[in-house]
């Protein structure tokens, strides 16, 4: 397994990224504020508009460093898309499967199965931790529904039905998500998922974590030579990384939702770190963003035994491991794609 390298997050909107030898240099008003050898990094994520020198971007492409540009609020704007790596035959296989409704449905259902199983574990973990203190009947009901839907998905042939089950499950899951928030109740609540823009603090936090996660899955797919833009569950749309979104599904509960919950419940983020704009959209202050990124990076360094590979890897390499398994499946080395299921 590959080594987990670092990701540089640039949140200061006045930063300019430049190259010096094999170094990445961050300048703010012509003053050098940060310098690192490029080989320490596997990704750069920038928030808000800022400059990056062409020489730096060239070096990032050459070294396989993924560069994502997000808006101040964390919405994904663009990614540096270098020369595709890996095997053209693999990508052709990917396109063929994506063109076939039947094959797409099979793969799509695997991603969704992973997602629902992990959603269920998030809920179940919560119940075993807090079971005695809070009312849990409806959480339990949603748990059961998730389990049923996983079974329905395992013999579901049509893509539309897969999407239908996914949508229904996601709605149900978020309908009980509020129960899982046990602290700071007036400021943090979940009354359904909304985005573009997120309308409350929890949705803003989730959206932000999802865009960090998207950066990781997109980079992972590119590393193994798959095309992140051609998905199975998410169909083609210009500028949308369909496969990256597909692969992300199974990680949302485990890597993002749980982190959001513990940040709130441990009071690491507080209500005054969020600002509601005139449009109704909620954005995070820089201080909160730094806390979230720090927690995210720490989480990525924790180790977990991969259920399929049976190997101990850092959480941050999970998207890479799954991308690898997906590529192996597309090549025909393994019969099915085993989604990441957290036990």
């Amino acid at each position: 397994m590959r080594r987990l390298l670092n990701v540089l997050y640039v949140t200061n909107p006045e930063s300019y990224l430049a190259k010096d030898g094999e170094n990445l240099v961050v300048r703010v008003q012509d003053k050098e504020v940060f310098r690192t050898p490029i080989h320490y990094l596997e990704g750069i994520v920038t928030f808000g508009y800022m400059g990056a020198s062409p020489a730096l971007l060239g070096m990032c492409i050459e070294k396989g460093v993924a560069v994502s540009f997000l808006t101040r609020s964390g919405r994904h704007q663009a990614t540096l898309h270098g020369i595709p790596k890996g095997n053209v035959l693999l990508r052709r296989k990917q396109y063929r499967l994506a063109d076939s409704e039947e094959d797409s449905a099979k793969l799509a259902s695997m991603f969704v199965i992973g997602k629902l199983a992990n959603c269920r574990t998030v809920l179940r973990r919560f119940m075993s931790d807090y079971g005695a203190k809070v009312q849990i009947e409806e959480v339990d009901l949603v748990c059961k529904l998730m389990a049923q839907n996983v079974i329905r998905l395992s013999n579901e042939p049509s893509l539309d039905k897969v999407r239908g089950i996914e949508g229904e499950s996601a709605r149900k899951y978020f309908s009980v998500f509020d129960n899982l928030i046990t602290c700071q109740k007036p400021e943090f609540y979940m009354r359904g998922r909304n985005r573009r823009p997120p309308l409350d603090n929890v949705n803003a936090l989730l959206s932000f974590l999802y865009s960090l996660l998207l950066h990781e899955t997109r980079a992972a797919l590119q590393t193994v030579g798959l095309d992140p833009y051609v998905g199975f569950l998410h169909r083609d749309r210009p500028g949308r990384a369909g496969l990256a979104l597909d692969l992300m599904e199974e990680f949302r509960p485990y890597m993002a939702d749980r982190l959001a919950l513990s940040l709130i419940n441990r009071r690491q983020v507080t209500g005054d770190g969020f600002i509601q704009k005139e449009s109704g959209g909620v954005i995070m202050k820089d201080t909160v963003r730094k806390v979230v990124i720090d927690a995210w990076q720490k989480r990525k360094r924790e180790e977990i035994t991969h259920p399929f590979l049976e190997e101990k890897i850092p959480v941050g390499l999970l998207p890479y491991a799954q991308a690898l398994l997906l590529a192996r499946h597309l090549r025909g080395d393994i019969d099915g794609y085993p989604p990441f299921v957290w036990k």
Partner: protein, 96 residues
């Protein structure tokens, strides 16, 4: 693994000054300057061999010296810092 690289390059001659610049430049490419002629480099074994070859091709073995200290994977336990000069953790969270 973390490698600490220190050097002494004799700069009494013009050629010596040139060697010093070249050695420093290579070290900057591979790691973090923590003091004037002291670098901490987090390297894969192959990267270390490449760096070593480059450095040893530059120096004059009669008058200059290079030392490598191997701090291994648990290098954090082996380093303590006091005083000025901000140093970042190459495996820690990087936010600018």
């Amino acid at each position: 693994m973390m490698v600490l690289i220190t050097y002494d390059v004799n700069i009494t001659t013009e050629a010596g000054k040139k060697r010093l610049r070249h050695v420093a430049k290579q070290c900057v490419n591979y790691g973090q300057r923590v003091q004037n002629s002291v670098f901490e480099c987090l390297l894969e074994p192959a990267q270390f061999v490449a760096l070593r070859n480059k450095l040893e091709a530059i120096i004059d073995k009669e008058s200059d010296s290079l030392r490598y200290y191997f701090l291994g994977r648990n290098w954090r336990r082996r380093i303590e810092h006091a005083g000025s000069n901000r140093v970042f953790d190459p495996e820690g969270t990087m936010i600018v």
